[in-house]
Amino acid sequence: MITDSLVKDFQRLLGADQVFLQEADRLTYAYDAAVLEPVLPALVVRPKSTELLGRVVQMCNDNNLPVTVRGAGTNLSGGTIPRPGGVVVLTNALNHILEINEGDLYAVVQPGVITAKLAQAVEARGLFYPPDPGSMAVSTLGGNVAENAGGLRGLKYGVTLDYVMGLTFFSAAGETVKTGSRTVKCVTGYNLTGLLVGSEGTLGVISEIILKLIPLPQARKAMMATFANVAAASETVAAIIAHRIVPATLEFLDNFTIRTVEDYSHAGLPVEAAALLLIEVDGHPAVVAEEAEKVEAICRQQGATEVHTAKDDAERDRVWSARRAALSALAKLKPTVVLEDATVPRSKIPAMVRAIEEISTRFALPIGTFGHAGDGNLHPTILTDRRNEEEWHRVEAAIDAIFDAALGFGGTLSGEHGIGMAKARFMEKEVGPGTILYSKRIKAALDPKNILNPGKGIGA
């Protein structure tokens, strides 16, 4: 329980203007981008130094207050929705890039640094931080690490986890914990980095992140291939990889999405096409030229009705504008957008797309599917109106069916959005009771008072 004296303690510690007590202020930290009901926190605080962040965690632990750490609040699984009576801790005042090391290829950042700002800062020095979640213009790196965020470049470059070299974080009791280092190799102690990445704020509060950087690819080439059926598009993906080419991005749009984007942006997309593949290769200019040629040939062999290669940056931009517009265009059709991220092995994409089409018909719901064909991470996007109770029941049933289909194909519930509150109840289906029990024991050992983002990630 938050008492007046505790509020005063927080105000003394952080400054009165960094403690939000008013109902209206608190309501603006009651939600994130998931389609879930808001939960009003009792208090919202914004520490302006890592030391203060640690003190806040300690105070919450001492007073049995649930803590939900929040960056930009963009996650899609309810991971930043607080507990009733809990404390929301904002990291957006901890927004300094502490170091960009060009010799050793790493950056050290505070958790509140915005993903795109780091990407720009390193790019200005000819370096590259590849993870590019859709919300990167506003999302924070702390949030990316806590959710193990993905993005469009997963196939070639991996996800956030692949770039975290080390972390400093606070335990539930407020002790400082260090893991990993500034070195490429480090086997000192448990791999706590692996434990923390994707833990959704349930095992520690991150205060500093060491991120791996790589050289910026010198050249890139984008192309758009049109297909008359989904299977041909999917087999093309497999064929490209079988030819030992790993594109930086390999994106898929289904017919429903193509038509919606075209209605919205009049970019001249082929509205009759069953599927579009948007492909980009990058690297050394000579390699890029050769690979682009090969990819184009493979697309044609696999039955693409049309392949268009962008000749310059303006054309490249036009290719990608179709993908960028996908979610916006779909979102404008209906008031509520449910963006799923069930993921299947690459080879199962045609089966998964068919299953989603069948689910769309069965539950009479419009579903647009687009996403990262290269890594099997599709985004079936259900368009609905959450105020329509009857329809909402069908949406929930459709989500269940999508998860069942993905698991049936040997896939997973979530490729990049996380479990949070939204998918916690499905966890056991995928991983079995033993895994849940094991995870709960870890949680109980590391956070005995269960104050760190309780209820998230490991199933109620």
Binding site: L27, L40, L90, A93, V138, A331, P335, R387
Partner: protein, 456 residues
């Protein structure tokens, strides 16, 4: 004060628009206010959640919501970049009206809007007295920028370096005008707007010079009032409607049919074009139709000159040497609200004496926001400093824009930073090119000592 249930019912009328927000949070990337404060209640997503909270009766304190809702520049950056197409400004203006109706208008706003703004004639007379006696209270600080500051400690003026009232307002220089269409075979009605009338009459002068040059007939009716945005943004729909009706009578006059209505103020343009039809829905069908028709033919001066008259860039002078460097600030109400960004730049390029150099973040809000500047000056200035720094980094001699409100705030920011950069309206720069050829020897000069002569 009526019951909170009643307020929730009123808010529910906005529900169809409120549910469109999917809480993605991408508005954080473009909100100038959020960039300064980092507070969710300052960004569109937070405010929409608050209005939703009132509609769903989660919130019990409407005052808190009103306070947050008023902390907004109404720049429209969020709406222009919203993936779901939430009509943020429509929602905010309607919500401000609902909340002002429910909570009552603050006494000082009531006096300003109902006793002055809604009575254009009286408003003009009061300000004319102000212009005569302002020298007692303020002193000039920068001759190039023409800015002044308070002589004494003043809670109202604070640290501002503001533009003083023009010694002779525009409506006294050119009371009314009716010229026939010439070469262009077009006639326009000219809506002047308060800031051009009372602070920047030289912009009005430039508009007339340009229109005359191109043979455009001008209908400038006497007795024009404010476009209504200050009242509307405070939720005072009554004053807003009075002003719309007052102006409509003058501007849509069957005795003076016009092809277009033009303004040289981004905010007036977007108010007439977008908000007049939106917020006059309680009017009868005939009146609504008139408003809609007038709104549809309302154009910003640069839009009119480029799209309708056919002004094009001058053939490029060789090199940059000897030319005046100018950078351009995109007013939110031109670029984000009306999509007008190319045309003002063409006006600048149409003057061969100038060379346009883009500043970084040219469409980042200057921080003025009209009433926002009066109520939240510190934040307004913090946002303005970012603009000032971008202007400084462009190393230009002149900053041009298309909105007198931006001109005021940018002048304040530059003057406080002791930066010797002139602030001009794009149409002034274009007019300079024409006057040079039409009236040799006239160099533009300082706008303050220029008189129109003979027009009245």
């Amino acid at each position: 004060m009526s019951s909170i249930k009643e307020l929730a019912r009123l808010m529910k009328e906005l529900e169809d628009q409120l549910v469109v927000c999917m809480r993605c949070g991408l508005c954080q990337a473009v909100c100038p206010l959020f960039a300064e404060t980092g507070r969710e209640a300052d960004v569109a997503r937070g405010k929409l959640a608050l209005l939703d909270g009132l509609a769903q009766e989660i919130l019990k304190n409407p005052q808190g919501v009103q306070d947050h809702l008023n902390r907004c520049l109404l720049c429209g950056s969020c709406a222009a970049n919203c993936p779901s197409g939430v009509k943020v400004l429509d929602i905010f203006l309607k919500a401000r009206a609902i909340l002002a109706g429910y909570m009552g208008l603050s006494p000082w706003k009531k006096i300003i809007f109902r006793s002055f703004l809604s009575k254009p004639d009286w408003f003009n007379r009061v300000l004319a007295w102000g212009a005569r006696f302002q020298g007692i209270f303020i002193k000039p600080v920068d001759d190039l920028l023409g800015s002044s500051c308070s002589r004494f400690m003043s809670p109202l003026l604070a640290d501002r370096h503001f533009k003083p009232l023009a010694p002779v307002p525009w409506h006294q220089q050119v009371r009314e005008l009716d010229t026939p269409a010439g070469a262009a075979n077009l006639t326009v009605a000219f809506f002047v707007g308060c800031l051009i009338d009372k602070i920047f009459p030289q912009v009005g002068e430039a508009v007339l010079a340009v229109l005359e040059h191109h043979g455009v007939g001008v209908h400038l009716p006497a007795g024009q009032g404010c476009c209504g945005i200050p009242a509307l943004s405070s939720g005072d729909t009554r004053t807003f409607r009075d002003l719309v009706r007052h102006n409509l009578k003058l501007l849509d006059d069957p005795a003076h049919p016009c092809d277009y209505l033009i303004t040289a103020c981004a905010t007036c343009s977007s108010t007439i074009r977008k908000l007049w039809p939106l917020m006059m829905q309680e009017a009868g069908p005939a009146e609504q139709e008139r408003i809609a028709a007038l709104a549809a033919r309302t154009l910003d001066i640069s839009q009119f000159l480029v799209d309708k008259v056919g002004v094009t860039p001058a053939s490029a002078a060789a090199g940059e040497e000897g030319r005046i460097t100018v950078t351009y600030h995109d007013p939110c109400h031109l670029k984000k609200s009306l999509g007008v960004a190319v045309q003002p730049r063409i006006l600048l390029k149409a003057n061969p004496q100038y060379v346009l150099k883009e500043m970084a973040e040219s469409d980042w809000c200057c921080g003025c926001g009209g009433s926002f500047n009066l109520q939240h000056y510190e934040t307004s200035a913090a946002i303005g400093k970012r603009k000032m720094k971008n202007i400084a980094r462009s190393h230009c001699q002149v900053v041009a824009t298309g909105c007198p409100a931006c001109m005021l705030h940018i002048t304040d920011m530059l003057s406080q930073a002791k930066m010797r950069v002139m602030v001009k309206h794009a149409v002034e720069i274009y007019a300079e090119a024409l006057t040079r050829t039409a009236r040799p020897g006239w160099e533009g000069g300082s706008p303050h000592d220029r008189q129109l002569g003979g027009r009245e």
